[in-house]
Subunit: 494 residues, 2 copies
């Protein structure tokens, strides 16, 4: 192989060799599977040290352009660009089972208006559709140090499969955090999951069969609906008002159908932001018990309260084994950690543990070690205090901004905590159309459709998530949204 | 509050205060919910600086003994020891739905002979039951540095929800690794999962309904069986020999039943260690295609080959959309990472992505960033070379040790790669009894039962995992096992 080297150049020889080979590979001059000369051979050909060639090869290998096979030499890899499965290039006929699947399982979430907009345009959004807290509040440096320390201290231990129920000391910490909120739960009754979404999935797997009935609030968390739909169950909706689930309606519905599960978000409900009042909490437990129906209590932001008095968790009213409690660190701390948990007792807990095992064996052990090392009850409470201060201010900002910039005939109830404000649009204003228009102004929100079993019920609602945006972003976002709403109402301002 | 302080002592005052309060809390002298005096007040009472008291309180809080409520003071937490849900202490009557669950879903894995022994006795085992590689080979320091760098560089980005399909650059790396093994898969057809176990779970969720039929190899991976059972499907077993799945038997079975899935482990099969020969690979694809049945190819250790020639992946023979390929970094690198992946095309890929979303939204983003940063094709190949060298030696060691220490009438085929050696015990020797006896000598292995739909079929088999033990441990373990087998055969050596 002949490579012309410039020995007067400031570019090191190994880099010259590398660049030369790189170009030959990228241009197709050295096609895939070509065996490069041995480094000994090439060094001799070029009159350079063998280490120089080895270094060049190592860099090409690191870039994924070549690979070395033990004892057999270095080969050119196929280029990434033209890598396509034969199938995608030739538009194959899918087997019949695939065609069947395409008919029966129309993908839902990927086709939502929001996902469509997000995937077609990359820009800096003012994004009220987000359902998480502010990543900027995360104590990044501190957590990095903790992770570092844990890896040093626990070493390989933190990197192996852990207990299927989760890292025991972390479960103890969770139990203590519960205790500080008046909820007595033994660490043995806690199962760590990959975010609260997995907890929902495990409960569904254990309790639901195709054809079963599930009661949910209407509206409710969109991915819970998609999850239940994937289990081919009948979903029936219990209406929600400012006091949370309409338990009187629930009672009527229980006369007509016996669900296998009641799914509820009693605190700072997604999407409405409402809280189940304390009277209804007791009624709900009593009804579920009388009708022999398990309750799944999704308490994803239960302790982010900005005003008023905390309500007891349904779990704390549970006479024993009636309520499966689900929560998460993702919303409070960092979504990317994917650490949630559930608590339950009785045979269902064993079934949930078993289900966790077959779903993914266990949740990433290292993060659990790190979380345990990072979170003490005190630190959790401190983080909570700061989060509440910051998010309360944002809630107040969005309330003021709505009054200032949006038409007077939007309807909403100020939320007392959590992430969401649920708003009814003025007569004739359709959320998905508004989204198209506001996206052009760089503003996103969650249209109401995705929170209902029958999407059209949500056509005139929007969910505004305010926790992840700064007051300035909130102000600017509402200003733009107001402008869009005004223009939509008065399409020809001239 | 009166605390006696020793001002002559070398113990700092804040520690004296802390110890004193700690004892009072642990002894019950300060019961839960007691409000501690304000730090200002206590500092005055004791004649110390207020910071001294604050420090003592902060340490108590970090230990989970007290918590502070904003603006309201510091309170004693309930002690962890006596925390029990009312339900576990009072042996409640579970609701009817729980009793039903206990009847229909007897937990299986938790009750296995192996798990029973492990949970009753904590000791240093020589553990041949392990199904992973050697954690000691993991480049711990290097990976820690990578993780550190990624957290600095990508910061909060690495800690948010990522793409549901997984971190795009990591999917590119995987595509390149595939390419280096002759398998052309576009990054767009790769879905990152929480270990390969989750990939199995997603495929099951998408393809299986209660009452459906699944074909598996007999024996096969135990947690796959438990997973399928949790979907309430009928499991039918295709026998395996030294050439892998008996495709001739499969053909007969396909005359009788049409399964919704064929699950196969073609390389270094779990538990038998056998490889599907190349003729049968082509037959299998053809049969599955003719009968319109999807294949799930579980390639958990496919590239850990110690002798002989690599076979093409089933996926590489796929005419398009027939094979769902599943693999993992857990086995090669570190189980605690929980990063696996699957590849498929057509409508089923979209359904799998959708299923991933409802199962846990996405896999931990930080580890994906770190893995991407750590793994290049070259590094992967290098790690593979080292692993093969190390594990080949261990495989050779166990073969020699079996010949040296075990009775001559054990039967096995030396595996050409992977983690497992599958052994038939001498006539009359029952694996679970042998396990009881060998556990007393500190040696564990996986009894054959857990790999069969009808556990008794495995009664005279054991699976020996050799990859995670050093040659010395393997030698010593086989010596002890041999002794136990000799004693079992000749219970009264006198």
């Amino acid at each position: 192989m002949r490579i012309s080297l410039d020995r007067q150049s400031e570019v090191p020889l190994y880099l010259q060799i590398k660049k030369n080979l790189r170009q030959a590979i990228l241009s197709g001059g050295l096609p895939a599977d070509t065996r490069l000369p041995s480094s000994r051979q090439l060094a001799r050909d070029l009159g350079v040290n063998r280490i120089t060639v080895d270094t060049a090869y190592a860099e090409l290998e690191a870039e994924g352009l070549v690979y070395s096979r033990m004892g057999s030499g270095t080969y050119v890899l196929p280029l990434l660009e033209p890598i396509k499965t034969h199938t995608t290039s030739s538009h194959p006929v899918w087997p019949a089972w695939q065609q069947e699947l395409a008919k029966n399982n129309p993908a839902r979430t990927g086709n939502s208006a929001l996902n469509r907009i997000r995937s077609t345009e990359k820009r800096q959004w003012i994004d009220f559709s987000v359902g998480v807290g502010d990543e900027r509040l995360f104590p990044e440096d501190e957590f990095r140090k903790v992770l570092q320390r844990v890896m040093r201290q626990d070493g390989v231990d933190a990197m192996t499969y852990g207990d299927v129920c989760g890292y025991a000391p972390l479960r103890q910490t969770i139990s203590q955090i519960f205790a500080s909120q008046g909820l007595l739960i033994s660490p043995d009754q806690i199962l760590i999951t990959s975010g609260s979404q997995q907890a929902l999935a495990l409960v569904s797997q254990v309790l639901l069969q195709p054809g079963d009935t599930v009661f949910v609030e209407s509206p409710t968390y969109g991915y819970a609906l998609v999850l239940f739909q994937s289990h081919h169950v009948r979903i029936m909706s219990v209406p929600v008002d400012d006091g949370g689930m309409r338990v009187d309606e629930l009672e009527k519905m229980l006369q007509q159908a016996t669900p296998k599960l009641i799914y509820t978000i009693p605190n700072f409900h997604n999407p409405t932001g409402s809280c189940l009042n304390s009277h209804r909490r007791r009624q709900l437990i009593t009804l579920a018990d009388r009708h022999n129906v398990p309750i799944m209590e999704d308490d994803f932001v239960g302790d982010l309260r900005y005003d008023g008095q905390a309500q007891p968790a349904l779990k704390s009213l549970d006479p024993g084994g009636r309520v499966i409690y689900v929560s998460t660190f993702s919303k409070m701390l960092m979504p990317g950690l994917r650490v949630g948990f559930l608590s339950a007792e009785g045979p269902v807990f064993d079934s949930l543990v078993e289900s966790k095992r077959v779903h993914d064996l266990a949740t990433s052990n290292l993060f659990q070690h790190a979380l345990h090392s990072y979170i003490t009850v005190g630190r959790y409470q401190a983080h909570l205090r700061v989060s509440c201060q910051v998010y309360r201010k944002r809630r107040d900002t969005i309330l003021l901004a709505i009054r200032r910039y949006l038409p007077a005939d939007v309807q909403f109830t100020p939320p007392a905590g959590g992430f969401f404000l649920w708003m009814k649009l003025p007569e004739g204003c359709v959320a998905e159309n508004l989204l198209e228009a506001s996206a052009r102004q760089g503003v996103l929100f969650a249209p109401g459709n995705e929170f209902f079993v029958s999407p059209q019920e949500g056509a005139s609602y929007v969910r505004l998530g305010f926790a992840s945006l700064t007051p300035e972003e909130i102000e600017e976002g509402m200003r733009r949204l107001g402008k869009v709403m005004f223009l939509t109402k008065h399409p020809n301002p001239l």
